[in-house]
Symmetry: C2
Subunit: 166 residues, 2 copies
Amino acid sequence: MSGDQAAEFRSMFRRHAAGVAIITADVDGELVGMTVTSLISVSADPPLIVFSLSAKSSATPPLRRATTAVMHLLGAGQLELARRFATSGIDRFDGVEWTRLDTGEPVLADVESWMLCRIVSTMPAADSTVVLAQVERVVGAEGIEHHRPLVYWDRTWHGLGEGSLL
Amino acid sequence: MSGDQAAEFRSMFRRHAAGVAIITADVDGELVGMTVTSLISVSADPPLIVFSLSAKSSATPPLRRATTAVMHLLGAGQLELARRFATSGIDRFDGVEWTRLDTGEPVLADVESWMLCRIVSTMPAADSTVVLAQVERVVGAEGIEHHRPLVYWDRTWHGLGEGSLL
């Protein structure tokens, strides 16, 4: 592909809408978290998910070493958290309420729907890493029925609802 | 996980919003196509994408053997196509306008933004298949700026726009 085509690839995917999640982990005592728009469900039984870690994120090197992680699914009400965990050069957990599971993973208190995942395998893809994980615990599946999901598209944030229904 | 947790996993992901795409391929002379909500961008340079093929779809067995495919990114105007390529037991291409690339892959005429991909590797994940593909050609990156993206969430279809902007 030419450089123009690479730019067009970026442009294309900026305009492919995606649900928004925040992944958190404790890696050797370090709290790590980042906003991701690359979460997909792969299998329901057993429950398997895939997400990708961009080489450009400062959270990627520690997350590559994580063995477990918490994946939080965000609603429109969690927009500020989504922004915060996508901001470089700050302590993302500073001022954010979170608790720790018995098994050590940090959970964001303001997100009611989350899953505890165990990393099954990772696949390098150029500089990035594709992660396959098995979900071991699901919390808040009922609550999520009532929230407006948060969607990222073309550098803007959207909340689905009556106004977007086709 | 218990059966209840598996049901909660399904419930959770029904409510994780996703952009919508249609993948098409010619596999040994057979036209294959399916609507997917599992497309993510993994790397921009080189341009790599990942998508998953569910064991439950009739298009999955032939798509597992594809070496190239076309990934169409859908706007709200392509809702009927999205529905059609998610319907079981029909000839999905019947009555749909499509053309063939010099290299043989079918392209849907009503979708202006698409990418020609070469399958790089596949990873089994329970009964499903996770596919890593390299994008070789990007068409319609300009046109996509003007469409309302199509989003699937909780068995409903949405179009992003002013009404959903946060």
